[in-house]
């Protein structure tokens, strides 16, 4: 039987090109249930979702001119979790499956190679997986509301489309950005990633954000920027400092009303230049909030989409062999992909789930891996009245986390800390 296959979407093209022998761009969404997970039933649920989410049961293949995703003939096996999240996805693994399902005690985690989808798409898949698991285990019926899809249906063309192509402006916006301050430290052995989770009450976080008249994302980005500025101050004199920018992904589905399950988000580098003077936390939060509001508009994002889409339409470029494209994309990524930000804060806010599911789930988390050139990243998800702030790093130093969470405590937000630190 002919295997189905997909072209990589516009955002996904960069990820195979920028992989390294020990780094691949991946993220994780996970949920903790109130009871330990039955792996056999979970395996049935994973297999049962294949026809509804075919774009996730794929392998990464290399054509002459482009990479593509092809239906995987292998089962996505439920595996036991490791000592740290987002262990390296090797080329060999991506030739079998680009998604992992991992279990530890009561936690179900799904890890995705970023060419498949973004955080929103990944969380939709996980929620449906848990719904199917609960249906099989508890014998309950879960209504198709919120993120839950009807598993008897086949995916609509809108769910599988590359929404970037439909929403690009005619003129592309510029890519040029001044390089930002780079965090650094001593690399952990054997690719170990330390995850520090800060658990805070969502209400307390919202109250603090409202005190400054900003959103939760802007508040967290402001606190993070303040922590990074303090670290840079301790390291070099002001005139030799660099801008501190936080990379914030924007989910474009809300802006353009897209239903796609593939990548449809872009990042904005928002921040301040500490060379021009000191900032209070309120100034930082407001500055970031206003920059975010001004940048995350339909028109501005359409220009940014066009900057990614237009090169793909050039015939000579399309006819260039994939190896040469890889080298070019890698160089572009190095120059403009990661250099513009000091760290990511990816907030996928709360996930709307049917009421009946909530009694079985105790918490949900979202984790993005460290970037290729910077060692820290932060991801946020709210569930059941709590916000889980996950800070991941591949270096030994925990200075940034210490400053960040201590500052939240100073703001009157009680923080509970969990870590897989060795």
């Amino acid at each position: 039987m002919q295997k189905y296959w997909y072209r990589l979407d516009t955002a996904a093209l960069i990820f195979p090109a920028t992989r390294r022998r020990n780094w691949a761009n991946a993220f994780r969404v996970s949920a903790c249930l109130k009871e330990d997970v039955d792996t056999e039933i979970l395996q049935q649920a994973v297999d049962g979702l294949r026809h509804r989410f075919p774009s996730y049961y794929v392998t990464l293949r290399r054509g002459l001119f482009w990479y593509y995703l092809e239906e995987s003939s292998e089962q996505v096996r439920v595996r036991r979790d490791y000592a740290y999240p987002l262990t390296f996805m090797s080329s060999r693994e991506l030739k079998h499956n680009c998604m992992r399902i991992l279990v530890y005690k009561n936690r179900i985690a799904a890890e995705f190679f970023h060419s498949l989808t973004d955080g929103r798409g990944g969380s939709i898949y996980l929620c449906n997986l848990i719904a199917r698991y609960l249906e099989l285990k508890e014998g309950i019926t879960i209504p198709c509301e919120g993120l839950i899809r009807d598993l008897s249906e086949t995916p609509s063309p809108e769910e599988l489309e590359d929404s970037f192509l439909k929403n690009a402006a005619e003129v592309a916006s510029g890519r040029k950005e001044e390089p930002s301050y780079r965090l650094h430290g001593t690399r952990e052995d054997r690719g170990f990633k330390t995850l520090t989770t800060g658990i805070v009450e969502t209400r307390a976080l919202l109250d603090a954000a409202h005190r400054y008249g900003v959103t939760v994302t802007a508040l967290l980005a402001g606190v993070m920027a303040e922590s990074i500025i303090a670290m840079q101050n301790a390291e070099k004199p002001r005139r030799r400092q660099r801008p501190v920018k936080i990379t914030i992904p924007v989910d474009l589905r809300r802006l353009y009303g897209s239903e796609t399950l593939r990548n449809f988000s872009l990042v904005l580098n928002i921040g301040v230049d500490p060379r021009y003077g000191d900032y209070t936390l309120e100034e930082l939060c407001k500055n970031i909030y206003h920059q975010l509001c001004a940048s995350a508009t339909r028109q501005n994002m359409a220009g940014m989409i066009a900057a990614n889409v237009q090169p793909q339409k050039l015939i000579p470029l399309r006819l260039t062999p994939v190896s040469i494209k890889n080298a070019v994309m890698d160089a572009v990524y190095r120059r403009s992909g990661e250099s513009g930000g000091s760290l990511n804060i990816s907030n996928i806010t709360a996930l709307p789930l049917p009421e009946v599911m909530l009694q079985y789930i105790s918490r949900m988390e979202f984790i993005i891996g460290p970037q290729r050139s910077y060692p820290n990243n932060c991801s946020v998800l709210s569930f059941g009245g709590y916000t889980y702030i996950n800070m991941i790093r591949n270096i030994r130093q925990s200075e940034l986390e210490r400053r960040f969470f201590s500052r939240l405590v100073e703001l009157g937000i009680a923080v509970e800390i969990e870590s897989n630190r060795r």
Binding site: N22, Y82, S90, H184, R190, S419
Partner: protein
């Protein structure tokens, strides 16, 4: 249970704060509730098979073309031997490690030196020179010992980087003097025409690194400046 320094609430049973590493003292200490297991993943390093195949094909095609051209034009190898063995040397250095999942530098560096020694031997025999044993071989052996020693020290000795690099630079300075000495023995050139300059350069940087290794504040400052 809270950290006395950061003020954050800690997991049950932890022995130190994960943020500031402040030890936790709790007379009613319970067993730690771990959020991740201890299992580490296996390392999945991969061989660069496409790169190795591409280089093999390029070297093979270039060798065949060279051989054909030489045989057609002269009926014998003529200059083709230099080219073909040069390609073989290139293959050993650039392509051979790509076939391995985890190529070990401490093995491939001596292998590369052996390949260079054989290639130079071929040149020496073809040109009728008598400089191989007195000049080329000792130079290659010295280079092999110095580079392999440095690689092994960097790889297997934890810490002491300034001492290792400083020692390497001093050895490199000494190596240049040795090269000039063998040059003097083989070709009768005057001693100390150029090697003292390189010895002074490498030696001063090497000595600086050795001193930096002994002064923690200077070492810290250098680590910050030259971090990569």
């Amino acid at each position: 249970m809270y950290c006395v320094k950061c003020g954050v609430k800690l997991q049950e049973g932890v022995e130190q704060c994960p943020l500031c590493l402040t030890p936790v003292w709790n007379p009613e200490q319970k067993e730690e509730r771990r959020s991740y297991p201890d299992t580490l993943p296996q390392q999945h390093l991969e061989a660069d098979i496409p790169g190795a195949v591409a280089l093999t094909v390029i070297c093979a095609v270039a060798s065949i073309v060279t051989l054909t051209v030489c045989l057609k034009l002269y009926g014998k190898l003529q200059w083709g031997g230099y080219v073909i063995l040069g390609l073989l040397l290139f293959y050993v250095i650039a392509a051979l490690p790509r076939w391995f999942r985890e190529p070990k530098c401490e093995i491939f560096v001596p292998v590369d030196h052996v390949a260079v020694a054989l290639y130079v031997l071929y040149i020496c025999l073809k040109t009728g020179g008598h400089w191989y044993v007195s000049f080329a071989l000792p130079v290659i052996i010295s280079s092999c010992i110095i580079s392999t020693a440095m690689i092994c020290l960097l790889k297997y000795v934890r810490g002491g980087r300034p001492f290792i690099l400083g020692g390497f630079l001093l050895a490199l300075g000494g190596f240049t003097v040795l090269v000039e000495f063998f040059e003097h023995l083989s070709f009768g050139f005057r001693m100390f025409r150029w090697s003292l300059y390189s010895l002074a350069g490498f030696g001063s940087v090497g000595l600086f690194l050795l001193i930096a290794g002994m002064i923690p504040s200077l070492r810290q400052r250098m680590r910050k400046k030259f971090f990569f």
